[in-house]
């Protein structure tokens, strides 16, 4: 499809500005003005609407396709949440209003939403307090690691490294490193969990924290998790919970009860806020009692009379990690989702997410090699290693799924599984949809034997065929330019 820039016609307009009701003022002095106009497209409103509508139809999305993308929890995003964020009382509220003298009373509704969401997340995770400020999961991780650093600093210790398992999300080691820590990696044992023996060897008084995902990225719940948190605490280290996989365990166990000190959640995963083509998300961070005092400012607090206010007054705080109170509209969607699901709904969400994943695991294990020979939690990981002997890679299976109208699973992650395919169906998908997916996967496994070319030449039905990624990285073309 042509770029919107390539549809530009000189003199065409897409939006009428209000007539100026004030006299024309002196122009901006030349020294401070741009010399040529920005070459933005000249198009009509219909041009714009049709252009983007047609582009939208070139995407897979949860509303149009099954999207079993592992580690991403692509569950259905209930429509009423969109309605709620568009209420003018939220949409048009300036974030600086509550910071004005006498402004707090003007934003009580918004502050109540933040306050209540924090309380609900505390109960779901067993943590003492939450900050809603982090703007994405990885941003929550960075915040969490800075909280850990502040905690150790208050104890008079610098501590040098953070331990992560080799199955961890890439964001874990990246967050630890940019916060100034060395990263020590522990390998995964034959049961798919962090190798305890190696962990013990690497854990010492220089360990600031160990970062874990539970269930882990192999979809497995580590039954020795308490032993790990205890071992870490014994040397004075903290334990970090990457909440990417919380959708597996709501009402079944809580990180706070197991001894985790800092957790981040992804509201755009477990709490059904839409992923928006890559964002915005929200990555609130919860902490145990010993870490509360370091939380970023501001914090929403309640006065004895019940009025809510923003507290900036905390010398121990790590400071500002976001301009305001987090991605408020995302928090709002997650809040109303929790209100509608309620206790039973949240528990059932985890139960059916796990049921769906295990159903896929049991029905596909004769066709693809499971990464581990046991049940899983909310996602299952296969290796396309059996297909490899016919020259078929996980990528080929993924591209075949696209032709069949299914978004592929996460592939080549976790890195420790050869030709990994990580499947997370979520609870909102019906048996019928999942059976359809299973049939396509079985078909692909059979084609790998009988007609591998069908897979290696897929997709055939999309606007483009396989794209040359090497060329993209070598001959950089990252923007339109006028000729």
């Amino acid at each position: 499809m042509r770029l919107i820039y390539e549809k530009s016609v000189k003199g065409r307009r897409g939006f009428k500005l209000p007539q100026s009701d004030v006299a024309k003022q002196q122009e901006m002095p030349a020294q401070y003005s741009r010399k040529c106009k920005a070459n933005l497209p000249e198009v009509s409103e219909l041009d714009v609407v049709r252009h983007f509508t047609n582009l939208s139809r070139m995407n897979f999305s949860v509303d149009s396709n099954f999207y079993p993308l592992g580690s991403c929890t692509m569950k259905y995003n209930p429509k009423f949440t969109e309605k709620v964020v568009n209420i003018a009382g939220f949409l048009e509220l300036h974030p600086l209003i509550p910071q004005l003298l006498g402004g707090g009373r003007l934003t009580q509704g918004a502050l109540e939403i933040i306050y209540n969401t924090e309380k609900l997340l505390c109960e779901i995770t067993g943590m003492e307090a939450f900050t809603m400020q982090p703007l994405a999961g990885a941003h929550g991780e960075l915040t969490g690691v800075m909280l850990i650093a502040a905690y150790h600093k208050s104890k008079g210790a610098r501590r040098k490294h953070i331990i992560v398992p080799d199955s961890s999300h890439g964001t874990n080691p990246a967050s630890a490193a940019i916060a100034g820590y060395d990263v020590i990696v522990v390998k995964t044992d034959k049961d798919g969990c962090m190798d305890i023996k190696e962990f013990k060897q690497k854990l010492n008084e220089d360990t600031a924290a160990v970062m874990l995902t539970c269930p882990n990225t192999l979809g497995l719940f580590n039954s020795k998790i308490k032993e790990i948190t205890d071992l870490a605490h014994d040397v004075g280290a903290l334990v970090y919970y990457d909440g990417a996989n919380l959708n597996a365990i709501m009402g079944k166990c809580r990180p706070g009860d197991i001894g985790f000190d800092v957790v981040h959640l992804n509201l755009h995963k477990t709490f059904a806020t839409p992923h928006g083509g890559g964002g915005p998300g929200a990555g609130p961070v919860g902490v145990s009692k010993s870490v509360v005092e370091f939380l970023p400012v501001s914090r929403v607090m309640k006065r004895p009379g019940g009025a809510l206010y923003l507290n900036y007054n905390n010398k121990e705080s790590i400071g500002y990690i976001a301009p305001f109170y987090g991605n408020f509209a995302v928090i709002l969607k997650a809040y109303v989702y929790m209100l509608v699901l309620g206790k039973e709904g949240l528990i059932r969400a985890s139960e059916y997410a796990v049921l769906n994943a295990n159903y896929i695991l049991s029905r596909l294990k004769d066709y693809y090699k499971p990464a581990f020979n046991k049940g899983c939690m909310h996602e299952c990981v296969f290796s396309a290693s059996r297909q490899l002997k016919n020259g078929i890679h996980a990528l080929d299976i993924a591209k075949y799924l696209i032709d069949k109208g299914v978004h592929p699973p996460t592939i080549y992650f976790p890195l420790i599984v050869k030709e990994a395919m990580m499947i997370e169906p979520t609870e909102t998908e019906s048996k019928e949809t999942i059976d359809g997916f299973i049939e396509i996967m079985i078909e692909a496994a059979k084609l790998a034997e009988s007609d591998p070319k069908k897979l290696t030449t897929a997709p055939q039905t999309m606007p483009v065929k396989r794209l040359d990624e090497t060329k993209a990285a070598r001959d950089l073309n990252l923007r339109w330019k006028s000729v």
Binding site: H94, L100, G102, A322, A329
Partner: protein
Amino acid sequence: MTYIPHTKEETKEMLDAIGISSIGELFKDISPNLRPKSFDIPKGKSEFEVIEHMNELASKNATYLTNFIGAGFYDHYIPAAVDAIIGRPEFYTAYTPYQSESSQGWLQSIYEYQSAICELTGLDYANASLYDGGTALYEAAMMAIRVTGRNKIIMDSGVSLIYRTMLYTYTSNLNIEFIETPVVHGQSSRDEIYKHLDEKTAAVIVQNPNFFGAIDDHSDVIEKAHSFGALAIMSIYPLSLGVLKTPGEMGVDIATGEGQSLGIPLSFGGPYLGIMACKKDYVRKMPGRIVGATTDKDGKRGFVLTLQAREQHIRRERATSNICSNEALCALRASIYVSLLGKEGIVELSKLNHDKSEFAKNILGKISGVEVKRSSPTFNEFTLVLNKNADVVVQKMIDKGFAAGFPLGRFYKGMNNYLLVAVTEKRTKEEIEKFAETLEKILCG
């Protein structure tokens, strides 16, 4: 309501296929001692009840005030077509376009967004977005440190205090030396910046317009920074670039900014949009996702996420940043917004903001008890010095139906009587006159 479609029969069939008799068995790895000590969550409600509750909470928020607050976050009009397109689930319920063939719509949209940011900033390349203007500025500082291998940053105090505080938070455990230089008569102090510039300096950070609304031409500062091998970073207000001299024209190496002004609602602080653009030479050190054009097997143009070897999912602890989720949907808003405005519209809108703001400045300057700071030109925001404490004046103005501006005493020592006032295209002549009249009554009362 749970959004779970399974019937009892289907659940049973699935359990049978797995070879177990109850869902509970799936959680056997979680031993009894790991079970929740409590899970006290209220019972679920209907969609209707929750919406009623939300309407009630929304009514406790004062969005009826006539808004003159900006301070980096502005009340601009958003054309209906932006919301209509953003409301398409094919955009908002998709995820990161890792699978390019089934994400061409998203990928092309991001490529077009990158193009728009390059056009606005006058720089070579832009990324697919960062979280907000503050985190973008932090990422730019880290990028300059990576590029130069140095660790000293000179930062003009005309940079938003919110952003400066964020930078200090993020770098507090890293070995980075920050020097803050003062604003003199509304502009960056050349003397102070030059005094500290040396061969250890990684970057000089400025903001244009600065936090006080003042416009500067930083070309001289940037040239000087370059002469020491330092990079120049500028935090921008993208809408103002309809008329203002671009970072590119001034020689800036990395421009960042808050993109909220480009069709994104205020929404009590987010989600917003972190903009980042840079010169060609630094693109491989840039954080965040980047979309590039390439061709498919038949030679047809298509788009992919590119230069991924910089990113955390490949490079892990050696990545340029830990960012994964970004603000794609907000970037799409920005792209639709500037497409609707177009080449001429953005200039006119910028001028309209400037005209309204100049008009307000003139009539406010005439009322007693107000001094307008005029040492520098401004775009759509300016500083007033009042004869009374600005906090108290703003409080009184709220009762008269105005969000009168942002009192600077909260962020700057000794500026208790200073008020920062923003005037966008949405403010009418009548509102501005009423504002001046009301302010005068309060100041002289």
